[in-house]
């Protein structure tokens, strides 16, 4: 199938590329700027009820009794459900790793503060929240497992008694001759790091409207779903419904940045709907709920990273030890973030011996969810800092030590030690471009003289790989072992000659509908505004996954081109009949099906489509009268993971090189970002404006990660970060102006050579900022190794020599 997709712009049947590669006006925008887009909270259905959820105030407790009678009797309340209902009517959640999940409402015990315990459905949300206050739950507190170290203690209380320990996964992966590399090293550099919980926080929280039709047992779920089919499959498993009786309708949503989760909410609403005779039930997760127990917490990590080096700065071995606190269950697939680093374990560097000592534990914090980057951002953050430490010890400039270790430009496709293959790249060119653009020499001189005056000025250089186009095998080590993530698009031409593309995902912000329209516009020689993009639900759309793992731009390009080509062939066969020549004599060019040898003999595709639909008399008996075609794209060449997790997983490897200048205020511990430069190479830019938008968004989140964002728990695993007063999102003031340049090393593996880029700068920015802070602190012999590098942490380091 993949052989039939055009691989380059030259192969497209138009004499001029007008749309691909340009920042065209987005189709999505008029609706968004007028406030007309139907986000899930806009949905009002007849008879709709509203759900509110009573949550556990304890991190670990047995549920002794629930008295919801007063709530049930309250006027306006139509259903009340508890964990026993969930246990009776549903199956436990599927999790990765397997076996570490429970029911949508806590049953018998609760494992984290904020876990849903009771849910009500009432005529409006105000009333529903009133009803919660009438419910009395008796708890018996259990000993709390407050953090990863506590989880590992011999006498630790158990989150899941049946597992006999809190360790979800413990394995050491060894790729290449690691021990040898370290034994023979001229220098071993080692350090410990702490990355604290932070997370997605899209401006729109999760929401759903669910109805369970009692007459035909059809479950219809509307919601802000990132991956509707995936969600739907899981709903059918949990709710015990046949998969073809679960319809997921995904609404455009206000950002996701990972996993727009909320599956508990969907299941809870399903049960409430069932209890309320099939009335639709809406749950809008509010921001407090999101911060408390939503899909918003990721990467709770203790790292030890070791580099084995030759004295010329060549890295011969890499050891990464990671202890990751997954929280109370593995239901939210946060574990994939611990697996994804395999896709780019050694970064830009040609390090052929590496080891990953991975421990995932359960604690009484909330379950971790995926967040933009899915694991490499902290991994890169520790790797780049340790490279700098090695550079300092060897007296090398940070740019130089990296240069000496880059995978050379002629070595691609390059298989890294952990098994993934990088498609293409030119890291040295990116570095040189960056150093030139930023006038690195002058910056270093500035930094040196500022430091001589006692100012804490620093420069940080970080370069990373941003893996794109994920496949499930990237997460094989946490139990997800399939390969092939489909994305299907149907392209159809109607009797009036208008083009419609039908697909199975809704909008998240990356401009995907516009991209599909651009591609089809440059195939059929129309304008993007001429193409209608129609969203289809999970039962109607061709096989799909939707956004995730920086895949969608590449996947939908492939799907659109594949469908276009299949459609082109159909049109050509029909046109050949109408033009009275052989089927291979006809070609599409600039919207016309024409006889190759006699191009003036031609018909516009609209005419051909019209004939297919309205002139069956002209067509041969065996012809397919549909002017439409469906193509399902999957990444080519994926391999199943071996027993060390090695697999060709993420298809593309974009590369970014960032340089940051910071100043640390010695007296206050605050950090000012004074300059930011970057070069980024994500292959062919199908819509450069979109790419740049993704880059800036990633930088903003990276700044948040480095300096501002943190979920804090106390020693009883009580969350202390309860609102946006405590969880600090970067504002316009905190995000620096950035000088950017693009390099283009096309991918040999993707249609049109684009690489996945959606997760982008999040992979790199935290590392670059931290490296800069540490450069600023290095004259004092201090290093900051915990994020966020808050005023509290830096001041303590500066004034109490402690961290």
């Amino acid at each position: 199938m993949s052989g039939s997709i055009p691989n380059s712009l030259e192969e497209l049947p138009v004499s001029e590329i007008r749309w691909i590669g340009k920042g065209v006006e987005r189709l999505e925008d008029p609706s968004l700027v007028t406030g007309r887009t139907e986000f899930i909270d806009n949905v009002v259905l007849p008879g709709m009820l509203h759900c509110a959820i009573l949550r556990s105030p304890y991190a670990h407790a047995r549920i002794v009794s629930i008295d919801s009678s007063a709530a049930e009797e309250m006027e306006g309340v139509y259903a009340v459900i508890t964990g026993s209902d969930a246990a009776r009517l549903t199956n436990p959640a599927t999790t990765a790793p397997e076996g570490w999940g429970g029911y949508c409402l806590a049953h018998e015990k609760t494992r984290f503060v904020g876990e849903p315990v009771v849910a009500v459905a009432a005529t409006n949300r105000y009333l529903a929240e009133d009803a919660l206050e009438l419910i009395i739950v008796e708890y018996e507190e259990l000993p709390v497992v407050a953090n990863a170290q506590a989880a590992l203690a011999a006498d630790a209380a158990l989150l899941f008694e049946e597992h006999g320990s809190n360790v979800m996964l413990q394995r050491k992966f060894t790729w290449g001759e690691v021990d040898e590399a370290f034994d023979q090293a001229d220098l071993v550099v080692s350090d410990d790091y702490r990355w604290n919980r932070l997370g997605a926080n899209p401006m729109e929280t999760f929401g759903c409207v669910v109805d369970w039709n009692p007459a035909d047992d059809m479950l219809t779920c509307r919601g802000s779903f990132q991956s509707q089919s995936h969600m739907g499959l899981a709903r059918s498993l949990v709710l015990g419904l046949p998969s073809n009786q679960v319809r997921m309708i995904s609404h455009p949503h206000g950002g996701s940045f990972g996993g727009k989760g909320g599956f508990r909410g969907v299941d809870i609403c399903a049960l409430l709907s069932k209890a309320a005779s099939g009335r639709p039930v809406k749950w809008m997760e509010d921001r407090l709920e999101y911060l408390l127990a939503g899909a918003g917490q990721s990467w709770d990590r203790e790292y030890r990273l070791q580099l084995a080096l030759k004295k010329d700065g060549t890295v011969t071995g890499l050891r990464v030890k990671l202890l990751d606190d997954m929280g109370g269950t593995a239901e939210a697939f946060g574990a994939v973030s611990a697996a994804k680093p395999l896709a780019a374990f050694t970064g830009c560097y040609a390090i052929q011996a590496a080891e990953y000592d991975l421990t995932l534990v359960a604690t009484n914090k909330i379950p971790q969810s995926p967040y933009r980057g899915m694991g490499p951002p902290p991994h890169n953050w520790v790797l780049e800092q340790t490279m700098d430490k090695a550079a300092r010890e060897l007296g090398l400039d940070p740019a130089e030590i990296r240069r000496r270790n880059y995978i050379p430009a002629d070595a691609f496709p390059y298989t890294i030690a952990s098994g993934n293959e990088y498609d293409s790249g030119n890291y040295e060119a990116a570095l040189d471009e960056l150093l030139n653009m930023a006038d690195y020499e002058r910056l270093c001189a500035e930094r040196d003289s500022a430091q001589a005056e006692g100012r804490l000025l620093g420069l940080g250089l970080a370069n990373t790989i941003e893996p794109g186009v994920f496949d499930w095998n990237a997460y094989a080590i946490v139990g997800l072992e399939s390969t092939g993530v489909p994305e299907g698009i149907t392209v159809a031409i109607d009797v009036m000659g208008r083009i419609t593309a039908r697909l199975g995902f809704s909008l998240e912000g990356q401009g995907q509908y516009t991209l599909v329209a651009q591609v089809l516009a440059d195939y059929f020689a129309v304008t993007p505004a001429d193409v209608s993009i129609v969203y289809q639900d999970s039962l109607s759309a061709p096989p799909h996954f939707g956004p995730g793992g920086s895949r969608l731009g590449v996947a939908i390009t492939g799907a659109a081109l594949g469908a276009a080509r299949l459609l082109e062939r159909k049109l050509a066969r029909v046109a050949a009949v109408l033009l009275q020549c052989g089927p291979d004599d006809v070609e599409l060019m600039d919207g016309f099906l024409r006889v190759r040898a006699m191009p003036e003999a031609r018909m516009h595709f609209a005419e051909v489509a019209g004939a297919m639909l309205a002139r069956s008399d002209l067509l041969p008996e065996d012809s397919d009268p549909q002017p439409q075609a469906t193509y399902v794209w999957t990444a080519p060449g994926r391999t199943p993971a071996d027993e060390q997790g090695r697999a060709k997983s993420y298809l593309t490897a974009a590369n970014a090189c960032h340089l940051v200048k910071v100043e640390v205020d010695r007296d206050t511990g605050t950090v000012d970002i004074l300059g930011y430069w970057l070069v980024d190479d994500c292959g062919t830019r199908l819509n450069p404006v979109t790419v740049e938008g993704q880059t800036m968004g990633g930088i903003a989140q990276g700044v948040g990660a480095a300096l501002l964002e943190e979920y804090v728990y106390d020693e009883s695993a009580q969350p202390l970060t309860s609102s946006f007063m405590d969880y600090l999102l970067p504002s316009v003031y905190e995000v620096p102006r950035v000088e950017k340049k693009a390099l283009t090393t096309p991918s040999p593996f993707t249609p049109l050579g684009a690489k996945g880029c959606g997760e982008g700068a999040m992979h790199t920015t935290p590392a670059a900022i931290m490296c800069a802070i540490n450069d600023a602190l290095s004259p004092l012999g201090l290093s900051a190794r915990e994020v966020p590098a808050s005023p509290r942490r830096l001041w303590k380091l500066l004034h109490e020599n402690a961290d």
């Binding site: 206050e133 600090l728 003031y733 905190e734 808050s790 001041w795």
Partner: protein
């Protein structure tokens, strides 16, 4: 996050408002701009039985200069004061301080007196009021009384206002001509509450510091008037040595600062001193 049910009253006179508050005591809360109260209501952390909305009381929205004071009524929005003609001349300190308060979108609705009555020690307006030597006019069932800003703030979120009393006006003495002023604060992000901050006013007379006022905020339960620092400054020769010494006295004066994820207690103490020194330097330059 929907508010719990409450009764609502919109009195049309101060007397009516006071009578309602007197009747219901602690079960009633005043609603002016709502920028502090409403978030608490949405989170169900505040559960008043009765909300007394004073926005319909005529005459509370005036800003007037009289008797050498800028009088700011209870319903004056922060933004209205910010845009009061001539504020840059009559009270540049207030203008500068207002610009640190949250964001314009909050200041459009939030009131000056509301922020004062709410008494968050990390907020700028209470500290500005103390630094400016403001007087508050309070009306209750027994009539009007006047109180200095310094006496008004008792502890975290607590003032001398009785349940039945209403803060009807804040009166800020105009900044004396040739007074230097400065507001310095450290925040996590622009517009956030201060981790620690200082407000300083002073004059320079005969090349010496005169009439210094130093107030630290964000470091304790109330804005902290640092009299030891003021004494050290009075008559001192302006310069880094004076600012350093006085700043150290500010740090020393800080009692029991908050210790939280944003800053440690020791840090707040130290940073208060640093902010004070920086404010002194800037105030002297403006004087």
């Amino acid at each position: 996050m929907k508010p719990p049910a409450f009764e609502y009253a919109a009195p049309t006179s101060v007397a009516e408002a006071v009578a309602l508050l007197d009747e219901r005591g602690f079960d009633a809360k005043v609603l002016a701009g709502g920028q502090s109260l409403m978030a608490l209501l949405n989170m169900r952390l505040a559960r008043p039985e009765l909300l007394v909305d004073i926005a319909r009381v005529p005459g509370l929205d005036s800003i007037e200069i009289s008797d050498g004071c800028l009088g700011v009524g209870a319903m004056v929005r922060q933004r209205s004061l910010e845009f009061f003609p001539g504020l840059a001349d009559s009270h540049p300190l207030l203008l500068a301080g207002l610009r640190h308060v949250a964001h314009p979108q909050n200041r459009n609705q939030g009131t000056v007196c509301g922020s004062l009555a709410h008494a968050d020690p990390a907020a700028e307006l209470p500290a500005l009021a103390v630094a400016a030597g403001a007087e508050f006019v309070i009306e209750g069932p027994d009539g009007k009384r006047s109180e200095s800003a310094e006496d008004f703030f008792i502890t975290y979120l607590t003032t001398t206002l009785e349940p039945a009393e209403l803060l009807v006006e804040a009166r800020f003495p105009l900044l004396r001509g040739a007074s230097g002023w400065s507001v310095q604060e450290v925040t996590r992000r622009h517009g956030d509450f201060a981790l620690a901050g200082a407000v300083v006013t002073m004059r320079i007379a005969d090349a010496r510091v005169a009439d210094p006022r130093v107030v630290a905020f964000g470091v304790g339960a109330v804005p902290l008037r640092c009299t030891a620092a003021e004494q050290a400054l009075a008559g001192a020769e302006p310069g880094p040595a004076a600012w350093k010494e006085a700043g150290a006295l500010v740090a020393e004066a800080v009692e029991d600062p908050l210790d939280d994820v944003h800053a440690s207690a020791a840090q707040r103490r130290s940073v208060a001193g640093v902010m004070a020194s920086r404010a002194m330097e800037e105030a002297a330059a403006r004087a």
